[in-house]
Symmetry: C2
Subunit: 258 residues, 2 copies
Amino acid sequence: MATGKQGKVTLVSAGPGDPDLLTLKAAKVLASADVVLLDDLVNPEIVAFAPRARVIRVGKRGGCRSTPQAFIERLMQRYARRGLHVVRVKGGDALLFGRAGEELAALRRADVTVDIVNGVSSAFAAAAGLGVSLTHRDHCQGVIFVTAHLRDHSEPDWAALAATGMTLAIYMGMSRIDSLCATLARALADATPAAVVQWAGSANERRVTGRLGTLAARARAAGLGSPAIILVGNAMGEAASFDMDSNDAGSEALRRSA
Amino acid sequence: MATGKQGKVTLVSAGPGDPDLLTLKAAKVLASADVVLLDDLVNPEIVAFAPRARVIRVGKRGGCRSTPQAFIERLMQRYARRGLHVVRVKGGDALLFGRAGEELAALRRADVTVDIVNGVSSAFAAAAGLGVSLTHRDHCQGVIFVTAHLRDHSEPDWAALAATGMTLAIYMGMSRIDSLCATLARALADATPAAVVQWAGSANERRVTGRLGTLAARARAAGLGSPAIILVGNAMGEAASFDMDSNDAGSEALRRSA
């Protein structure tokens, strides 16, 4: 490990799972890392891009034993102050959910230099798996990325979100998919196209398409669980695999390139 | 150019501009391309990744002379039917705005195999430039990606979007930034943090941060125009460069890694 130079932290987005979905910049940054701090949901195969680095796992998975946030922040500062290049790796794009805001603020307060490298967020990978645009202009004006897992255990205002007519891309919603779909179905037609994509953008990706009214039951029947993206909205009716009468018929018609 | 094999189309997301923000997969796909169809807003430097390919520019910029959509779709089908690997490159992530939905549907109807490669959408690059998370959990439950440029020249329901309390990431809004901010200011406080990032994620990136009530004037004073992302919401107050009294003070404190 190098010393005597100015240390820094780079916040790197690992994308949805497939190491090939790292950006070229992320791969370069990992190659120069002295220390890598790896989140739980990041594919561990990416450490192959950081052969020089000491790798520390700092999982923060909902409900499980996890590394306290304050400890992670102190760890980054300590290594950076030693003149090391610390690469903090988060799944998807680091700037969507995942507490990057708190880590950036803490590093800024500590006067540590931070760079940020973007990546592919899971909902985009989910749409690619389904062969569908998140925002087909025949159907909507945009897409809402929302987490169902709120700090105070409350719920987003699903009715207000549904009323916008936009595609909903719901993160961290699988533990409450039944109540979530039931609530949405009070504002949207039961027949609204919807989908669940588990492990989107990874080798283990699994998908169910259907209608809002029956999505939760179908996802359960197919054995889908966390981590997954729930997509709801008329644009999802354009999915290659969209078929209200089967679990995943036709989903092989379009797949990500090998 | 190869013949006698099964052709196909790969829809590749070029990211926001910096060629280093291509994914590893996008670089591999470009390397194997026989024909590359390039959108106007894609950085032309990426053709260096496709040395074997015939490159065709098919710009579709708002208001300018552009290649008709039907022609682009026929072109892709024709080359794919000749057994060629056609790579259709779109800026940002191809599955957010940009008519990928229509192209996928046309190719599917023509029975042409399509793969999709995700990328980094501009709003993520804009947030990285600002050194801010799109969704700091102290401030919001998510982010809305919306286009201000609707097919029928109507406007999104800005009041309803503002009422969700989420970060707004507005694409293609610069030509109407005054009316857009004025409308949002009827639903949100004038003091709501906001930002404009032009050419986000490229070497030409330029940023203004401020408050909703004065954002349009400040963006104009700074000479910012299309293409740009407009970001509005309390989470933007965490930006490294956030300073209500100056155009871009402190924006150098955080920058993307070189």
